[in-house]
């Protein structure tokens, strides 16, 4: 079980692994994507208007993310069934993961859980091919994040991010 962090996990930290349902009968683990960059998009709720817009922007930007061989994944505390309906309604072409049981455990591990609302923050992480967080972003309230920051972070990744460098970077963890 991931432990709770109060602050958003910093660049240089090993990204906590997780396995979350992407559909009612299928799980996706972060470690499945070792060897390629991953963009985690934490968003508060499936059906809020701002989230629909935000995820549609990421959907529109998917070809750009694919240029970096990056896998984009959305994460919220909604259930897999809600995710299916939401993804169909918005025709999203990347997986939405259900941080549903225990609620918000992965968001807590990344330091992006909102206790009062019981949702995740609006936050982004770029994780390199070796599983190290290289960039993070927490959105101000009411402002949807764009895709440009994560794309720039991907462009700035060194070509050979497969080199293990966890010893050097782990000290940054809160």
């Amino acid at each position: 079980m991931p432990e709770t962090h109060e602050q958003i996990l910093a660049p240089g930290t090993t990204a906590p692994d997780f396995s979350l349902p992407s559909t009612p009968d299928q799980n996706v683990a972060l470690s499945d994507f070792r060897g390629q960059p991953v963009v985690l998009v934490f968003y508060p709720a499936d059906w809020s208007p701002v989230c629909g817009d935000e995820l549609s922007i990421y959907n529109t930007a998917l070809p750009e993310f694919q240029r970096f061989n990056a896998e984009v994944m959305g994460i919220s505390v909604d259930s897999a069934w809600s995710h299916i309906a939401f993804a169909q309604a918005h025709q999203l072409h990347f997986p939405l993961l259900a941080d549903f049981e225990p609620k918000g455990a992965v968001a807590r591990a990344y330091g992006v859980y909102r206790e009062h609302e019981g949702t995740t923050e609006r936050a982004l992480f770029v994780i390199d091919a070796a599983g190290i967080i290289r960039w993070n972003y927490r959105s101000p309230v009411g402002v949807a994040p764009d895709a440009a920051g994560a794309l720039r972070a991907l462009a700035a990744l060194p070509p050979a991010t497969n080199t293990p460098e966890r010893q050097a970077t782990h000290a940054d963890a809160q």
Partner: protein
Amino acid sequence: MPTLSEPVSDRDHIQGPADAPMQLVEYGDYECPACGQAYPIIKAVQAQLGDKLSFVFRNFPLPTLHPHAEAAAEAAEAAGALGQFWPMHDTLYEHQRHLTNQDLERYARDVGVDGTAFQADLTQHKERARVEEDVRSGIYSGVNGTPTFFINGTRYDGSYDNESLIEALRQGSGAR
């Protein structure tokens, strides 16, 4: 704050003097209700600021939310290729709930473009590449919804009522 990845240039559709001290760039979707709400506000801002303002429109259709948005964007560009971008742009925003292909052809006739050339352009998707260029520059500029505005090159996250926009435009041009 994010800034335009592609500065305004000759390829853009510009209203007002290109060297105006205040520059407003919109990334918009013809079928997006919020863009439709912004449309008359921009008209009013333009009327108030006159030659001090240049306004640029770039396409950012979200086809998964708005099924007619891409065709509408291509239609505006096709009309633009025939010299009637802004009349078509205005017509689309004034009828944004009626954007079927038949509607688009009717609007093209209304703004006085040659029907055959327009249809050929639309059916062969001659303007798709340009629309995609706009979307790509929007993604890298930090578009985070539609509409997204840039004032003198910097993204504007404030509300887009008349007074807020004019205040931000005045400040943006002063800071230059």
